[in-house]
C-alpha cells in the first residue's frame, strides 16, 4: 500500500517537474523570439533611413546638419550592441528622425511627392513596430522573470538554465514620447 502511495507521489512530482520545465523553456523561447522581433524592425529602420535621406537631400540641401545628424545616428545605431547601448543609439536615431520629419513639414511640395509620403509611412510604421515589439518583449520577459523567481517554479529554474532576462528600459523622456512625436503632421483629435 505504502509502496503505491510513494509511486503515485513520484509520478505526480515527475509530471510537475516536466510541465514546469517545459513552461520555462517555452517562455525562454518566447523571450528570445521577442528580442529577434525587435532586431528585425531595427534593421528595417536602418535600411529605410538612407533611402529617406537620399530622397529629401535634393530639396533640403541647406538642412545639411539635420541630415548628417540622422546619418550619424543611424550609423552608430547599426554598430551598437547589447540592450543598453542599442537602446541609447536607437533613441538618438528616433530623435534625429523626429527632427527631420518636423522639417519636412516645412516643404509642402516635398511632401506632395508620393515617395516621401510613402517613406514616411514606412518609417512611422517601423517605429511603431519597434515600440510594440519592445512592449511585447518587455511583457514576455517580465512574465518569464516573474515565473522563474516564484516558488515552487524557482526550484526548477536552475535545471532549465533560466536566468532573468534584461528588460528594455526607456532611458529618457524624449524617447518615451516616441509614439506622439513620430507624426507631427496628423493629430487624431476629431
Amino acid at each position: 500500500m505504502g509502496f503505491f502511495i510513494l509511486l503515485g507521489l513520484a509520478v505526480v512530482i515527475g509530471l510537475w517537474l516536466m510541465t514546469t520545465y517545459n513552461t520555462l523553456i517555452a517562455l525562454k523561447n518566447q523571450v528570445i523570439n521577442g528580442w529577434k522581433q525587435i532586431d528585425v524592425q531595427l534593421k528595417r529602420r536602418h535600411d529605410l533611413v538612407p533611402n529617406l535621406v537620399n530622397t529629401v537631400k535634393g530639396a533640403m540641401d541647406f538642412e545639411r546638419e539635420t541630415l548628417e545628424a540622422v546619418i550619424a545616428a543611424r550609423n552608430s545605431a547599426v554598430n551598437a550592441s547589447g540592450v543598453k547601448q542599442t537602446g541609447m543609439a536607437e533613441g538618438m536615431l528616433t530623435q534625429a528622425l523626429g527632427k527631420l520629419f518636423a522639417l519636412v513639414e516645412a516643404y509642402p511640395d516635398l511632401k506632395a511627392t508620393g515617395n516621401v509620403a510613402q517613406l514616411q509611412e514606412e518609417l512611422t510604421s517601423t517605429e511603431n513596430k519597434i515600440s510594440f515589439a519592445r512592449q511585447h518583449y518587455n511583457d514576455v520577459a517580465t512574465h518569464y522573470n516573474t515565473k522563474q523567481a516564484m516558488f515552487p517554479t524557482n526550484l526548477v529554474a536552475g535545471i532549465a538554465k533560466a536566468s532573468p532576462a534584461e528588460l528594455w528600459e526607456i532611458e529618457d523622456d524624449a524617447e518615451r514620447a516616441v509614439p506622439v512625436v513620430d507624426l507631427s503632421s496628423k493629430k487624431p483629435e476629431a
Partner: protein
C-alpha cells in the same frame, strides 16, 4: 496578470465553443429523434397494415445533417462569412491607404504576439470591421473601404487592435461557429415547419383517431417538440447576441493595452457612431463579428431590456466612456510616474 487573464479567456472560449457544438448536435438530435418518438408513440396503435414509424430515420438524417454543418462550419465557416460580405483578399497593397492598413495590421500583430492575419477589404462605403476564423494562426481581418477612408492612422490602429484582441482570446472561434450554425438552425426550422404544414405529422393524424394509453404521452412529446422547433431561431439569435456583448468591452480594453492609446479607439468609435447608415454587405447573421453593429445604429444606441436582449453590441457611448476613462488614467500616470510599464487596464 495579463497573460493569466488571457489564458482564462482562451480556456473559456474553447470550452464554450465545444459546448456550442455539443449543444448544436444535441438540439438537432432532439429535433430528429423527438419527432421520431412522437410519431412512433402516435402511430403505435395504428391498425395492422397502416404505416408504423419504427425506424427513427428523421433523427438519423438530422444528426447526420448537423454533423456535416458543424464540421463544415469549423473548416469553412470563416471563408463563408467573408464570402457573404463580398470581401476580397488584400495581397499586394496598391494604394497608400491599403499600405497603411497592412502596416497597421503588422504593428498590431507584433503588439499582440499573434501571427499576422490575412487582410480583406469589404467593398462597402460604411465604416465597419470584423475578424473571423477558428484558429489565431489562420485568422482573417476584414475592413470596409469606408473604414479606410474615414479613420486616421491612430484610429485605424485602435480598430485593428480591437479585432486583434478578438483573435487573440479566441472569441473569433466561438463567433464564427455561431455565425455558421445560427444560419443552419434557421434553415432547419423553416424547412421542418413547411414540412409539417404540408402534410407532415400533424396533418396526417387527424383529430378523432383512437387514443390508447400512449396517446397523451405522444401528444405531450409532440407539443414540446413543436415549441422547441418554433423557438429555435429566436433562441439561437439571442444566444448569438448575448455571447457577443460583454466581449466588446473586453476587446476594447485589450486593444487599449496593445496600442497604449485608448483615446484613439474612443474617437474611432465616436466617428463610426456618427455614421448613421447600415453596412449593407454584412448580413445580420455576421453582426456579432463586427466592431460596431452593422444594422441601423439606432438599436445599438438605446438602453433598456429589449435593446439589451436584441442588440449585438453594447451602446457605443458606454464603450467610449470606458475608453476615455482609461485614457484619463493613463495620462495621469504618465504625468506622475515615469515607468515603462503599461497602464493598468480594465
Amino acid at each position: 496578470m495579463t497573460s493569466k487573464n488571457l489564458f482564462a479567456q482562451q480556456q473559456s472560449n474553447r470550452r464554450r465553443s465545444a459546448l456550442l457544438v455539443a449543444g448544436f448536435l444535441l438540439f438537432f438530435a432532439w429535433i430528429g429523434f423527438g419527432g421520431d418518438l412522437s410519431y412512433y408513440l402516435l402511430s403505435r396503435d395504428a391498425p395492422p397494415g397502416a404505416y408504423r414509424h419504427d425506424i427513427p430515420f428523421m433523427g438519423i438524417a438530422t444528426v447526420a445533417f448537423a454533423a456535416i454543418i458543424a464540421w463544415s462550419s469549423w473548416k469553412r465557416g470563416a471563408r463563408r462569412v467573408l464570402w457573404a460580405t463580398g470581401a476580397w483578399k488584400l495581397v499586394e497593397a496598391a494604394t497608400p491607404e491599403q499600405r497603411r492598413l497592412v502596416n497597421v495590421v503588422e504593428e498590431m500583430s507584433i503588439a499582440s504576439g499573434v501571427p499576422k492575419p490575412t487582410v480583406w477589404i469589404v467593398p462597402d462605403p460604411d465604416p465597419n470591421a470584423l475578424a473571423t476564423g477558428v484558429d489565431p494562426r489562420e485568422a482573417h481581418i476584414a475592413v470596409t473601404e469606408g473604414m479606410l477612408a474615414t479613420l486616421n492612422r491612430d484610429e485605424l490602429q485602435g480598430v485593428v487592435a480591437h479585432e486583434m484582441a478578438h483573435i487573440q482570446n479566441l472569441d473569433i472561434r466561438l463567433m464564427t461557429l455561431l455565425a455558421s450554425m445560427v444560419g443552419a438552425v434557421a434553415l432547419l426550422s423553416d424547412g421542418l415547419r413547411n414540412f409539417m404544414r404540408f402534410g407532415g405529422v400533424g396533418g396526417r393524424r387527424g383529430g378523432g383517431g383512437r387514443k390508447g394509453g400512449s396517446g397523451p404521452a405522444g401528444f405531450i412529446v409532440l407539443i414540446v417538440w413543436l415549441v422547441t422547433l418554433l423557438l429555435a431561431p429566436l433562441l439561437s439569435r439571442i444566444m448569438a447576441m448575448a455571447v457577443s456583448r460583454n466581449r466588446e468591452y473586453l476587446a476594447d480594453a485589450t486593444a487599449a493595452q496593445f496600442t497604449r492609446n485608448p483615446a484613439a479607439l474612443a474617437s474611432a468609435l465616436e466617428r463610426l457612431d456618427a455614421v448613421s447608415g447600415a453596412t449593407r454587405s454584412i448580413s445580420r447573421g455576421a453582426a456579432h463579428l463586427c466592431i460596431v453593429d452593422p444594422g441601423e445604429r439606432r438599436l445599438a444606441a438605446r438602453d433598456g431590456a429589449v435593446a439589451d436582449l436584441l442588440a449585438s453590441h453594447p451602446p457605443i457611448r458606454h464603450r467610449v466612456v470606458r475608453l476615455r476613462g482609461m485614457a484619463f488614467q493613463q495620462a495621469k500616470q504618465v504625468g506622475a510616474v515615469t515607468s515603462t510599464e503599461p497602464p493598468p487596464v480594465g
